[in-house]
Symmetry: C2
Subunit: 244 residues, 2 copies
C-alpha cells in the first residue's frame, strides 16, 4: 500500500471542523468520500490535528493509505474534481510508509485575523473577527512576546481533549497591524485544545487595557484557565502551515 | 429635505450589481428597502456608478434625500440593523443640497485581484479571479503604464451604456505582486462600461505573452474593442474609493 500525503486549503465556514463526527458535516468526511469515489476504496484519512467549527486552513496536512494505482501527483486533480469549492487539495505526494500526519508533525503555524474598526465587515466577513473597541497594539505586541519559549500552557487550554502534558514550545508570537486589520502569527511545536483562540482572547484583553502585558507571565505560571481571556471566535483563525 | 451621503461596503457575490432591476436583486434595492423600513419614506438612492453582478465595493458612495429627523450620523447604525451581512454602511453624513453621488464625483479607484497559482482558491474564492497559467509580472507592469494619462478608451469599452465621450484620464495604473496574489490598482476620472475588466483582460494577455507591453498604445489608438482582451471575470473587481 502506498502512503499519500495531502496538503489542503479549506474555508471552514460551513463545516464542523476537520474531524468526522455524527450528525454534522466535517471536512475529513467530505475528503474521504471524494477519495472513495475515485478509488472505490474505503479510506481513513489521518489529519494533522482537529480544527474547530469555522476555523480555516491554508495548508492543512493529512495522509491516507491506498492500493489504487493512480499516480500520487494525480490525486490532487482527481480529488478536487469531487470536492465542493470550499475545500481544495493543493498538493498530493507519496511519502514514506512511516509518515503520520499527526505524529510526524514537528510543529504548526497559525494566523488569527481581527478587523479593528467600528463597522462590521461585508467583504471577508467569514475570515476575520470583528472587534469594535480600541486596541493598544503596542501593548499587545509586548504581551505576545511572553508566550515565546517553553511554558506550561495549562491556563490556555479548554477541557475537551486529553493530553499527557500541557508544556509547549512557542517559537513565533507576533502581532502585526496593517490598516484596520490586526494579525497574530503564532508558531510552535504543538497546541492544546483552543490554545490559540485563548491566547488571542487574552491578547485582546491586553489590547483593551484589562490585562497588562507582563501579566501574561503570571497567567502562564498560574496554570489556571480562569485567569486567561475568553476563547476568541473561531472564524478569525487559520492554520497556515504544518511542519515536518 | 436633507441630503444624506452613504459610504457602503458590499460583497457583490449574491447581487445583480448596484442598480435596481426587474426580477433580480440589486444592492440599491436592498438599501432602499432598509431605509424605507426606518424612515417610512420611499427613497431613490443615487449611486456613484453601476457595478456589475459579482463586483465588490469597499467604499461605494451614494446619496438620498429625506424628511426624516434621524441625525445624519445615526443612519449608519439604523440602516445596518436592517441590512443583510453582505452589505454594510460604513459612514452616513449630511451633505450639501447640491451633492450628487454620480455627477459630483471627480474620480474612482478600483482594485482587481488575481490568484496566480495552479490550484483554485478555497479561502477568499469570491474575491479573486483564479488564473492558472504563468504570468510575466514585469511585462504586465510595463504594459500598465501605457494606460496612464488622457486617452480615448473606446477599445476598452463594451456596448451597453451610452456616454458622450470615451476619453478618460487615468492617474494610477499599477500591477503589484504579493505571494501568489497579483493586484492591479487603477484610478481615474471615470470609467466606461466594463473598462477595468477589459484593461485587466488585456494585461493578462500581456502576462501570458500574447500581447506586448507596447501594443497597449496601439490598441488604445485603434479605438477598436476587437483589439483589446476579454473582460476579466467580475468577482476579482472591487471599487476601492470614489473621489469628490
Amino acid at each position: 500500500m502506498r502512503n499519500i500525503k495531502l496538503t489542503i486549503e479549506y474555508d471552514g465556514t460551513h463545516y464542523a471542523g476537520w474531524q468526522r463526527q455524527k450528525n454534522v458535516l466535517a471536512i475529513q468526511q467530505v475528503i474521504e468520500e471524494a477519495i472513495e469515489k475515485i478509488t472505490s476504496e474505503k479510506v481513513d484519512i489521518i489529519g494533522s490535528s482537529r480544527t474547530d467549527t469555522g476555523v480555516h486552513a491554508k495548508a492543512y496536512a493529512a495522509n491516507f493509505h491506498t492500493n489504487s494505482n493512480i499516480p500520487a501527483e494525480r490525486f490532487r486533480e482527481a480529488i478536487n474534481s469531487k470536492l465542493p469549492k470550499d475545500i481544495v487539495i493543493l498538493y498530493s505526494e507519496q511519502v514514506d510508509e512511516g509518515f503520520h500526519a499527526r505524529y510526524s508533525s514537528t510543529g504548526k503555524k497559525y494566523c488569527y485575523s481581527i478587523l479593528n474598526r467600528l463597522q462590521p465587515p461585508a467583504i471577508n466577513r467569514n475570515y476575520v473577527y470583528h472587534h469594535k473597541g480600541n486596541l493598544d497594539i503596542e501593548k499587545m505586541q509586548q504581551a505576545s512576546k511572553y508566550f515565546i519559549g517553553t511554558h506550561d500552557f495549562a491556563a490556555f487550554k479548554n477541557t475537551g481533549s486529553s493530553v499527557k502534558t500541557s508544556v509547549r514550545t512557542i517559537t513565533q508570537s507576533e502581532v502585526v497591524k496593517c490598516g484596520d486589520i490586526v494579525k497574530y502569527y503564532v508558531a510552535g511545536d504543538g497546541f492544546l485544545y483552543n490554545m490559540v483562540r485563548i491566547m488571542v482572547g487574552t491578547l485582546l484583553e491586553v489590547g483593551n487595557g484589562k490585562v497588562k502585558p507582563e501579566d501574561i507571565a503570571k497567567i502562564l505560571s498560574s496554570k489556571d484557565r480562569g485567569n486567561a481571556g475568553k476563547s476568541a471566535p473561531a472564524l478569525g483563525l487559520c492554520l497556515e502551515e504544518v511542519y515536518y
